[in-house]
Symmetry: C2
Subunit: 321 residues, 2 copies
């Protein structure tokens, strides 16, 4: 084993990733359960229609690895940031991710019937309700980021909204999906494939890291803060791309039961992937290179508490589903 | 003519509504043209994919009455608010409105092929691109509200995001559309119909008024500001509902060419409307009542510069398309 690639469980720092992530996931699940409800988060005196909220909760709760929330929380921890703000940011990234899956599964997109081992939202609630649930989840993400009275500085609320909107929009996730649409049946160069994934999956993963970093209180030293921010951006870019490379590998090597979604879709859909471009072995090697790149960025960050980010990078690359 | 219902052109204040709205519309059109582009509004070094941006621009530019932006700008003027912030808020409300039309026209929703006299977005660009364009427009609305360097106080940026997210989400526009879905083929009481429209159309119209009002600089007198805010909320609620009552009337009385969208859809779709519930004459009387209610709210606001809001209320009720 390359000694630079040390699994989280062997960390010399003795960091207990399993315990850390269990604690963080409990916070995230509880918060999502509270915020995705018929009661508007700002105490408005009217609720949302129950059928819509059912579809939203189905899309969000009880499923998913919560990778984006964990990245937000780990990144916030690395910079010693505001934990309340980070929890909101963590849930907001998950709502955006969840809405994108709901819309992506629709018949006019990937037409998928299985997600996280359950029927997709439109299969269960109908296409129109799925469309609206996705739309409402996106709005809710921004509502969660801008609480009236939760003691989160307005300047941070605004910055988190900006980062999330950029990560989700036409120069981020939605833009990447549009490139994906246009690329079906075409041969892409590795550069074009990387650009597509940098937006489609990478933007929100990197955005999660940046949102966590944005939760930092005002830094004692501006130069240090800038260097740490740049390093975290590099970390986010590397794991964002690694995530997609591994996704492409798993689409070929794993079965639907393990993935909780339909395996082998890329080949059937004639979609360009890392595996179709580089082959399986070179794709695996590329994922390991990106892992090293992510870890090197953390080493260069000057930040002390990067154990959780380090473990998450391993999780992204070593996952089996 | 009821002397309380004085058309804008006969205003005793001599307010030139035509000139005012022409000026405001020019600002809004120019700003939308700048902000809905492949260049991310924050000077990122990468652009969004051209095909997606084409669909977004098609959905937003060169069409529409821009009622929501005008409400934002008129409301901001009434409270003497920050004009730069109001212009961003104005455009953000229009982006949300535009995205909702794109998604609403999709085959799984209203399946409409004509909008503003042109083929709908999915007819021109395909369903998948239309879905993504709508999603990206929603994200862009929040990005526009949170500029990095435009001199808009962060507390105002956060407040505008909150108001817009509430207006657009599950307890607002998206929630209203979900009620609409569930109500097809059912007989609603007037109360249920009002609740549906309060969310579906009213939330964003009222939200536009509230966003304009939020642009106020810190008020000299808190009590006055609270009273003005409550009055503007009432104004927004009244014209929000009036808009929908008139929409229902026009669906029966106008033709597709005048409307720029398919007329007679409600009856064909077996949708509950004010006309089906109250009949044409009582619906018209109800619209006039709501106009009086909106004007009375302005009278009670204690605000001096309400001429544009007054004229917009007339425009909502007296329109023919």
């Amino acid at each position: 084993m390359d000694p630079r690639v040390r699994p989280a469980s062997m960390s010399v720092t003795g960091f207990d990733f399993a315990g850390w992530s269990q604690d963080q996931l409990a916070r995230v699940e509880q918060a999502l359960d509270v915020w995705v409800t018929a009661d508007a988060p700002h105490g408005l005196d009217h609720g949302a229609p129950a059928a819509l909220v059912d579809a939203m909760r189905y899309a969000v709760l009880d499923g998913g690895k919560r990778l984006r929330p964990l990245l937000v929380l780990a990144s916030c921890e690395a910079v010693g940031g505001n934990p309340q703000a980070a929890l909101r940011a963590a849930c907001a990234t998950e709502l955006i991710h969840a809405y994108s899956l709901v819309h992506d599964d629709l018949p006019c997109m990937d037409n998928d019937v299985l997600r996280r081992g359950k029927p997709t939202v439109h299969v269960k609630f109908g296409e129109a309700q799925a469309l609206l649930a996705g739309d409402a989840l996106q709005a809710l993400a921004f509502e969660i980021l801008t609480p009236d009275e939760a003691g989160i500085p307005a300047v941070l609320q605004a910055r988190l909204c900006r980062l999330l909107a950029q990560a989700a929009g036409s120069a981020g996730m939605a833009g990447g999906q549009a490139i994906d649409l246009a690329s079906v049946g075409h041969t892409l160069t590795e550069r074009q494939l990387r650009e597509m994934h940098r937006l489609k999956t990478g933007a929100l993963l990197q955005g999660s890291v940046l949102m966590g970093a944005a939760c930092a209180e005002v830094a004692a030293c501006r130069e240090q803060a800038v260097a740490a921010h740049a390093a975290l951006a590099n970390y986010g870019a590397a794991i964002g791309l690694a995530f997609q490379v591994v996704d492409d590998i798993l689409d070929v090597t794993a079965d639907s039961a393990t993935l909780g979604k339909t395996a082998g879709k890329d080949a059937v859909g004639d979609k360009p992937t890392y595996v179709s471009l580089l082959g399986l072995e070179r794709s695996r090697a590329h994922a390991q290179e990106l892992l090293l790149e992510a870890l090197a960025a953390l080493d260069a960050s000057g930040l002390a508490r990067t154990a959780a980010l380090r473990a998450l990078a391993h999780m992204v690359v070593d996952r089996h589903a």
